[in-house]
């Protein structure tokens, strides 16, 4: 039996990037805000201590800071004719857990999507005609434009202290930046990171091929910085322990470094950790949320009434919470109707591994977002007509780490053990680098999320089921990109290269990317979206849902910059809602 708690103005589900930003901005106006987080409290000095943080086995291999599948996982299959089985051990993607969420263990690449990404359907029709779209696609325009989001991208970048080089300030192309980016109002808050030897070779080679390389925008920051919330960060030391780790240097932007020190001082804010939200409670007519029910570590249920419910978990778990709470009509692929779970998307990875005769790449001297990129083949920055695919990729040269349990590359054909393997590992480590393409994935009728009929979590609730595979459009794109990467790798002077193509069905086993998008998308039509353009539920107007679950399809960039921008965009709408509750978009 749930014990009923006193009412709060706002209840926030999940205390990661989006939850912490909204909690701070709303509690500082005097609202009573409670954030409910299913994982533990985590902070830099106590949990990412320099004496324990650089531990590859514990964090990268055994997954210490991630959500434990025992607590919650998904089931997966590649297509609707198969039986889904649980992802018993994380592989392809790594959801976070605890305060800070995936903002603790991310690499820190902080991009803005390109203007065309936001109106991809209209744009592609205008330039190529309807015939360019792949079979069974659900590609749809975003309900906001790049220009509308620009001030909110700026806010998030200045919150996080992002290091980078602008390519387009108020329409003026800036040398050394990305000439394809949308116009920005001002440069990044801190200068770009230092780059390594591989990036030097890539910059020269890509420029020689007529491409436009630039340093990646990075949340591992290059210089000391104090953000508008008064939180201070220190310069990155290129330690090579970013992705899968908390940063012990206060150098990687995270809720811990950028928001929590300010948030926790707000007297009307309270966090409850180790407490899992079971569902959003609805009024009898299903049109208003009355709060949430959560369960603490001891199995005690609590009912937390609130006037406003902000769903701020990792995107996949936002979708599951909506399904478990009965908010929005679940997607049914057979009829192609319903919206919750519709348009799940992911990303492609492909490229070329480059072996050099004699180089010292020092891959251990690295950072999660160290690297240079070229966007000449991203979005619609190139003519798609001859290729027969939609979408594109950001092509990069990067070393994120040289941690040896997971990074000890050898040329293809090398035995996996024995003296020959040992010799190859020893000879290859310093002289190998790669050129990679992180590509978009479009949305399709048969890639979706719903509740699994068989498997349950320890609280007895159905796991969410993921039905996903790469489609021909994505394979074609990713493999074309691999060839582009290979051209660059050869121009860099590699003695030998190996293509990494997208082959076979999507598998949960090898790590690919934690850029899961969609399932609770925003749009202008309630028949094809869960949320309106302000991330407000069409069906329950006092529920807002943050995160990449709102993306109608995925782009060729890391999602966090756009997730941050959408949070600030929605915040303004939430403030309007609080002055005058009700649907912010009238149909």
């Amino acid at each position: 039996m749930a014990r009923r708690l006193p009412r709060k103005d706002v209840v926030i589900v999940g205390l990661g990037w989006t939850g912490s930003i909204l909690a701070y901005e709303l509690s500082r106006t005097g609202l009573e805000v409670v954030a409910i987080e299913r994982g533990p409290w985590r902070d830099t000095a106590t949990d990412f201590n320099i004496g324990t943080a650089p531990d590859e086995l514990r964090y990268a291999v055994r997954h210490d800071v991630f959500l434990r599948p025992k607590q919650e996982t998904l089931t997966m299959r590649n297509n609707p004719s198969q039986t889904a089985l649980p992802i018993r051990k994380w592989g392809s993607f790594l959801p976070g857990n605890g305060v800070g969420g995936a903002g603790v263990h991310w690499n820190g690449q902080t991009w803005r999507f390109l203007p065309n990404d936001f109106r991809i359907r209209s744009h592609m029709i205008e330039r190529y005609g309807e015939a360019i779209f792949p079979e069974g696609n659900h590609i749809q325009d975003w309900p906001v434009s790049y220009d509308e989001l620009e001030p909110y991208y700026d806010k998030f970048e200045y919150l996080a202290g992002i290091s980078g080089k602008a390519g387009n300030i108020k329409g003026q192309i800036q040398p050394g930046g990305n000439p394809f980016e949308g116009a920005r109002d001002r440069d990044y808050p801190t200068p770009p990171m230092k780059q390594g030897y591989a990036q030097e070779l890539f910059t020269k080679a890509a420029s020689g091929l007529g491409l436009h390389p630039f340093p990646r925008p990075s949340a591992n920051i290059s210089a000391a910085y104090t953000n508008p919330y008064g939180c201070s960060m220190a310069p990155c030391t290129y330690c090579g322990f970013c992705e899968r780790f908390g940063c012990a240097n206060y150098s990687k932007a995270s809720p811990q470094t950028c928001v929590l020190p300010a948030l926790v001082r707000q007297p009307t804010f309270e966090a409850r950790t180790d407490s899992e939200v079971m569902k959003v409670n609805l009024s009898a007519d299903g049109k208003t949320a009355t709060g949430v029910t959560y369960v603490d570590l001891n199995g005690q249920e609590w009912e937390q009434p609130a006037d406003l419910v902000l769903v701020c978990a990792y995107g996949l778990f936002n979708v599951r919470l909506l399904l478990l709470s009965g908010i929005g009509k679940p997607y049914d692929p057979a009829q192609d109707e319903g919206v919750v779970g519709r348009n799940y998307a992911y990303q492609t990875g492909s490229g070329s591994t480059a072996f050099f005769e004699d180089a010292k790449f020092n891959p251990f001297a690295a950072a999660g977002s160290l690297g240079v990129a070229a966007d000449d083949y991203n979005s619609d920055n190139f003519d798609h007509a001859p290729h027969g695919f939609v979408g594109g990729a950001s092509i990069t040269s990067a070393h994120t780490n040289g941690r040896p349990i997971l990074y000890h590359p050898t040329p293809r054909g090398t035995p996996t053990w024995g003296s020959k393997w040992k010799k190859a590992v020893s000879e290859t480590y310093q002289r190998v680098t790669s050129v990679g393409a992180q590509g978009s994935v479009m949305s399709y009728r048969n890639n979706y999320l719903d509740l699994d009929p068989t498997y349950k979590d320890p609280l007895g609730r159905p796991l969410m089921r993921m039905t996903f595979d790469y489609q021909d459009n994505e394979r074609k794109m990713a493999n074309w990109m691999a060839d582009r990467c290979d051209e660059i790798a050869k121009a860099m002077g590699a003695k030998q290269t190996q293509l990494n193509r997208l082959v076979g069905p999507w598998s949960v086993v090898p790590y690919q990317t934690t850029h899961n998008t969609g399932g609770a998308v925003f749009g202008n039509d309630p028949k094809t979206s869960v949320l309106n353009r302000y991330l407000q539920s069409w069906d329950v107007s006092n529920v807002f849902v943050m995160g990449a679950s709102a993306f109608p399809q995925n782009a060729g960039y890391n999602p966090t910059g756009t997730v941050g921008a959408l949070t600030y965009w929605s915040l303004e709408a939430i403030q309007r809602y609080l002055r005058s509750p009700g649907p912010l978009v009238q149909l």
Partner: protein, 263 residues
């Protein structure tokens, strides 16, 4: 001790006290209003408000492995694992191999911890008899069972197929041929997948050879020296200033390096 001001989420004062880590009340904790929700079973959730909670050693540092003896393996099992890892990463002119780097001890200690029971993984049934390769791990056997059953099956196989000799008694050449066949799943062990056993030992061997020495393997940072990984120095700004140059300093692990004790 509960922090002063501890309360349950409905504001009722707490009469019993429990924390995640029992400790003295310090001035800091008196000032903090970070409170723990006390529940009857002793498990606690936590309310954080007004100040950041700061509990020392929340990062629960790793307890360093002390070599010597085995906590999980029998001496017979340890001898087989020693022989297998010695083939997987042999000692040769490039330096120590897995056996000499303490990998058997590493695996033994890992098997006694949460990894050995797949404690953090989703292990609820039903378990499918015919999973897709894309669905990854689907066996109900946890690593402790994989080693116990798998090593027994390997030993039984060897005794039958090699005239009563166990794996340890095989020649290096025989061991290598057998491991090659196990990697491909071509050997049929009695009631156990040879591929699963190979894969468990192979991945644990790589972990033990390259993980921080605090876990009992990678002795003298042999794995790191093999490739030139400097360990946990945590600051390579100097390297960024000198591209394409050999890094000169020796590796450092979480507990420092042996030379630091030689004064």
């Amino acid at each position: 001790m509960a922090h002063l001001g501890s309360h349950s989420p409905d504001g009722k004062p707490l009469t019993s006290a429990a924390t995640r880590h029992p400790r003295h009340i310090t001035r800091r904790s008196l000032l903090a209003s970070a409170a723990l929700l006390i529940t009857t079973g002793g498990a606690s959730a936590r309310v954080v408000t007004k100040v950041l909670p700061w509990d020392p050693n929340e990062a629960y540092p790793v307890v360093p492995v002390k070599p010597g003896g085995y906590l999980f393996f029998t001496s017979e099992e340890a001898a087989i694992v020693d022989a297998v890892v010695d083939r997987l990463i042999p000692t040769d002119d490039l330096g120590p191999g897995a056996k000499d780097a303490g990998v058997t001890t590493f695996i033994d200690r890992q098997l006694t911890g949460p990894y050995g029971g797949h404690d953090w993984l989703y292990m609820q049934g039903p378990f499918s008899a015919s999973p897709l390769p894309t669905q990854g791990l689907q066996s109900p056997l946890v690593p402790r069972q994989q080693y116990r059953l798998g090593l027994a099956a390997l030993e039984a196989y060897c005794k039958t197929s090699f005239g009563g000799r166990g794996f340890v008694q095989l020649t290096v050449d025989e061991q290598e041929r057998l491991l090659t066949a196990m990697e491909k799943g071509e050997v049929v062990l009695p009631n156990f997948s040879s591929k699963m056993l190979f894969s468990a030992i192979h991945s644990n061997t790589l972990e033990g050879f390259f993980a921080d020495p605090i876990y009992g393997g990678n002795r003298d940072m042999a794995g790191w020296k093999l490739i030139g990984f400097p360990g946990v120095r945590y600051d390579y700004r100097d390297v960024m200033e000198k591209p394409n140059q050999t890094y000169q300093l020796p590796p450092v692990a979480m507990q420092g390096r042996p030379a630091w004790g030689e004064h």
